[in-house]
């Protein structure tokens, strides 16, 4: 029998503040962490959480990942004596990696020549840096690696962690995503491909949406084999009951407008969870606020959930924090878990003008109670959280609490 995978810890750093509670409570309250067209983690000061030496040996994306992981691990009590560190893994995804460091060192190279380039450059910018830093800090001796799949990296990492536990390769995995790309090159590059909002407003599913607002942050969960968690008396926050991933194989950046492969990821995640569409209570959308995503995602939900898409609350965390790229799926999984635990459907902020064909219930602007009248008996609430990445990557998590 397949091992069940439960969630025993959660940590986040987001534009809504440091901590998973700040993320969920402030989103539910309808607060928006976006300012001046960016979702910056203004409250985050690395040396509040680590030594100056640790901070200078970590790119900002790693710093964010380490702090989110510290919170999740403390929450789970995973640093306690007697836990077999060989049986813990660590998978922290990112869209891009240490871009701040790369940009700085390219500047050094151009201005002062190759001899002046920092010997820390590679460990700062490598995409697995956050995973490596977390593993070193917490003496994690199982499998550790990063996953790089653009804006699906956070969800892919959580899914890979689930599989790792199911396969018996680990009893617990620290997993999630981290990103910090509010840098001149990334802002220019996303801008030049017209992916980001010229108006600097994140309003997913609204007719006036004109692109995503870039954010930064990190989200980390501790996933654990249910029996192991129970035997050590860990508090179970929820369960990762399903995961699936597919690929569009359609276009380098644009989603397949039919939503076919994305829909299949939803369907397969439900199969993995062993549930029917009628049992879902809430959908945490990828909902980027780009014209293409929000339309194809709406199509995908209708395809995958033909009898249920119309009744389901569907909201986008990105309306409150912007698009955290490789951290998005992980931060949003944590927001989803919080929504389920509090029994609240958090809102899609900034929603005002319905767009033709985008006719789902996007929970406009105000939270509302999350019913459990959806055929799962009411004993638990179930949500689907979507993540889609450039390259046509689709990763879907199914969470219950």
């Amino acid at each position: 029998m397949t091992r069940r995978v439960v969630i025993t810890g959660a940590g986040a750093v987001s534009p809504l503040g440091v901590g998973a509670e700040a993320l969920i409570d402030r989103w539910i309250a309808g607060e928006c962490g976006i300012a001046d067209g960016e979702g910056r983690c203004d409250e985050f000061e690395p040396t509040d959480h680590m030594s100056r030496k640790e901070a200078r040996r970590a790119d900002r994306f790693t710093q964010l990942g380490v702090v989110a992981a510290d919170e999740a691990i403390e929450h789970a009590g995973l640093d306690a004596d007697g836990i077999d560190r060989d049986r813990i893994g660590c998978v922290i995804g990112t869209g891009i990696g240490g871009l701040t460091s790369l940009e700085q060192q390219v500047g050094v190279l151009n201005e002062r020549g190759p001899d002046a380039v920092s010997p820390l450059s590679v460990p700062l910018m490598m995409g697995n840096a956050a995973a490596a830093a977390v593993a070193m800090r917490h003496s994690i001796h199982g499998q550790t690696f990063g996953i790089v799949s653009a804006c699906a990296a956070g969800a892919h990492s959580i899914g890979a962690a689930k599989r790792m536990i199911e396969a018996g390769d680990a009893d617990a995995v620290v997993c999630g995503g981290a990103e910090a790309t509010l840098t001149p090159i990334a802002i220019a590059a996303f801008g030049s491909m017209a992916a980001t909002s010229k108006e600097g407003i994140s309003r997913p599913f609204d007719a006036r949406r004109d692109g995503f607002v870039m954010g930064e942050g990190a989200g980390v969960l501790v996933l654990e084999d249910a029996e192991t968690a129970e035997s050590r008396g860990a508090e179970v926050l929820g369960e990762l009951i399903g995961y699936a991933a597919t690929s569009d194989a359609h276009h380098l950046t644009a989603p397949d407008p039919s939503g076919r492969a994305a829909a299949r990821a939803v369907t397969l995640a439900l199969e993995d969870a062993g549930i029917e569409p009628g049992e879902i209570d809430y959908v945490n959308a990828h909902g980027t606020s780009t014209p293409l995503n929000d339309r194809s995602e709406t199509e995908a939900l209708k395809l995958a959930l033909p009898d249920d898409a119309g009744r389901l609350p569907v909201s986008s965390t990105k309306s409150a924090i912007g698009h955290l790229l490789g951290a998005a799926g992980a931060v949003e999984a944590i927001a989803t878990l919080g929504a389920l635990r509090q029994g609240v459907a958090p809102p899609t902020l900034g929603y005002g003008e319905p767009d033709e064909g985008l006719d789902l219930d996007y929970v406009p602007n105000e939270s509302r109670p999350l019913d459990t009248a959806s055929g799962n008996g009411g004993a638990r609430r179930i949500a689907v959280s979507n993540s889609f990445g450039f390259g046509g990557h689709n990763a879907v998590l199914c969470i219950s609490a």
């Binding site: 030594s51 030496k53 040996r57 002046a116 010997p119 460990p123």
Partner: protein
């Protein structure tokens, strides 16, 4: 333009460099061992870059091999500058 390397100013630059790479300021002295300062091979490369910028003295990887204390590196820089 680089500065002339004399024991006093080399010590000052190396002490500041060690602080820059994250060593605890109160622990830095001529007698301090790199291991105790938590200064590793990556930090030593940064320190060598700082020294070269300031004094024009190039420390290669082999130069630092076997040196365990801050004072040994200061003496080496002064000697190489002569």
């Amino acid at each position: 333009m680089t500065t002339k390397a004399e024991t006093g100013n080399v010590e000052k630059v190396i002490f500041e460099g060690l602080e820059e790479v994250g060593a605890e300021p109160n622990d830095i002295s001529r007698e301090a061992e790199f291991e105790a300062l938590d200064v590793d091979s990556l930090d030593l490369v940064e320190l060598a870059q700082i020294v070269e910028d300031e004094f024009g003295v190039r420390l290669e990887g082999d130069d630092l091999k076997g040196l365990t204390t801050v004072g040994q590196v200061i003496d080496l820089v002064v000697k190489k500058a002569e």
